[in-house]
């Protein structure tokens, strides 16, 4: 081993640095924490059908990212893409409701969400980006600006890294009475 020359030392240094960098990349952490996962909309009066139901703070996203930029997007997963899953039907008339009648709103203290106000949910195959875009890398945006995508944590900076999710459904009178379900996917991903 004493015979290791300059080139060998360079190679060893390269390996060390690469392993170090790799180890740092592995330490990048992501975290989404929810307070509850089952949300129920119960339309049992005419007024609720007409005016809709809004569930404020139905869900809470706690984001913890270190070492990299990130994207956050959301979409719905159902068996029949674009439509609610039918658990049971109470009537023979009407149509199956589309997922777009479910609207979401992402709020935090600094309003960093790219989607302001309520927006209809889309299928997960064409998700809605709350932070970032489908292309990468995005421009680096620091807290408290809209679209904040730099590393950070809800523990130290909840104004940019904690999202309260509101949900709204206004069915109207077009859809078939029944029990419906869908799954909302919140995906936090490294901006690569």
């Amino acid at each position: 081993m004493k015979a290791i020359g300059i080139s060998g030392k360079i190679a060893l240094l390269t390996v060390f640095l690469n392993i170090s960098i790799f180890a740092e990349a592995q330490s990048v952490s992501f975290g989404i924490t929810s307070l509850s996962s089952n949300i129920s909309f119960d339309f049992n009066t005419i007024n609720k059908y007409k005016s809709g139901i809004i569930l404020y703070n139905a869900f809470e996203l706690l984001i913890d990212v270190s070492g990299t930029q990130w994207d956050l997007y959301v979409g719905a997963t159902t068996t029949n893409s674009g439509y609610f899953d039918v658990t049971s039907s109470y009537s023979s008339t009407g149509t199956t409701p589309p997922i777009s009648i479910l609207q979401l709103q992402f709020r935090n203290a600094n309003n960093t969400s790219l989607m302001s106000g309520f927006f209809p949910i889309t299928d997960i195959s064409s998700p809605t980006y709350i932070i970032g875009t489908s292309s990468a890398p995005d421009l680096s945006i620091s807290c408290p600006n809209v679209g904040t995508n730099v590393a950070g944590s809800y523990t130290s900076n909840p104004g940019c890294y904690k999202f309260n999710v509101d949900m709204k459904i206004t069915p109207g009178f077009t859809y078939k009475a029944g029990l419906y379900t869908l799954r909302i996917d919140y995906i936090l991903v490294q901006d690569l």
Binding site: I21, G31, S34, S37, S40, F43, S92, T93, L179, L188
Partner: protein
């Protein structure tokens, strides 16, 4: 020595390669349940009791017409039908003011007219005798094609029938709000000539009504498209 260097170079290569392709991500799920209940609301916005008091010759001869005697409003989240029938075949006599005349007054002496046009074959689009319980063919609250429909008709939409669409009365006043006119025309003597059932139908040969106090129960029934 070169082998050692090559060995570390290979490790470095793989380290770089792995770092390039490992995109970290995390995801969380919400399970959303939406329960769309079937709701049918029928509201009578007028006094449920409609009085006809015949105390003059003119009222006997010309009859009494109560326009907008009953107002109904429908709020529904399902396709729906609305039908009407009398809860008995004849009026119930509470008190007789005379000893002569026929106390049997068929339900059909009452004439009804709806403000909303129905496509049902049996309807009350214009003044028509209200069908008594037997003639309405309503059994245990279930109508047939011979029942008088104010909206929709017997048979589902998919089965070739018709129904009114879901909605509220406030948003659909022309189809979800009903104004029912009522008419009684006894004539002199009080034979009720417009009735489709004669007073003698019950076996009493007296052709005119006995003076007295009578009542009849009219049933409006809102149902999911049948």
């Amino acid at each position: 020595m070169r082998k050692i260097v090559f060995f570390f170079a290979v490790i470095a290569f793989f380290a770089i390669s792995q770092k390039s392709y490992a995109q970290l991500s995390d995801q969380e799920y919400n399970y959303v349940t939406m329960d769309l209940r079937g709701i049918l609301n029928l509201t009578m916005t007028t006094n449920p009791q409609v009085d006809f008091i015949f105390k003059t010759i003119q009222e006997y001869r010309l009859g009494i017409t109560r326009f907008n005697a009953t107002k109904l409003e429908v709020d529904a989240t399902l396709a729906w039908d609305l039908f009407v029938y009398a809860n008995s075949d004849s009026w119930t006599q509470v008190e007789a003011y005379s000893t002569n005349g026929n106390p049997y007054l068929p339900a059909e002496i009452l004439e009804l007219q709806s403000s909303v046009t129905s496509s049902a074959p049996v309807n009350i689009n214009s003044f028509s005798s209200l069908l008594g319980l037997t003639n309405s063919t309503v059994s245990a609250g279930v109508p047939t094609a011979s029942t008088q429909f104010l909206a929709g008709e017997f048979g589902t939409i998919s089965g070739g029938g018709s129904a009114f669409a879901p909605g509220t009365a406030a948003d659909n006043p022309t189809t979800h709000k009903f104004r029912i006119d009522m008419r009684l025309k006894p004539g002199i003597p009080a034979t009720f000539p417009n009735s489709t059932v004669l007073l003698t139908a019950n076996g009493n040969n007296e052709s005119y009504a006995q003076a007295g106090y009578y009542y009849l129960e009219v049933v409006y029934s809102l149902v999911e498209d049948l």
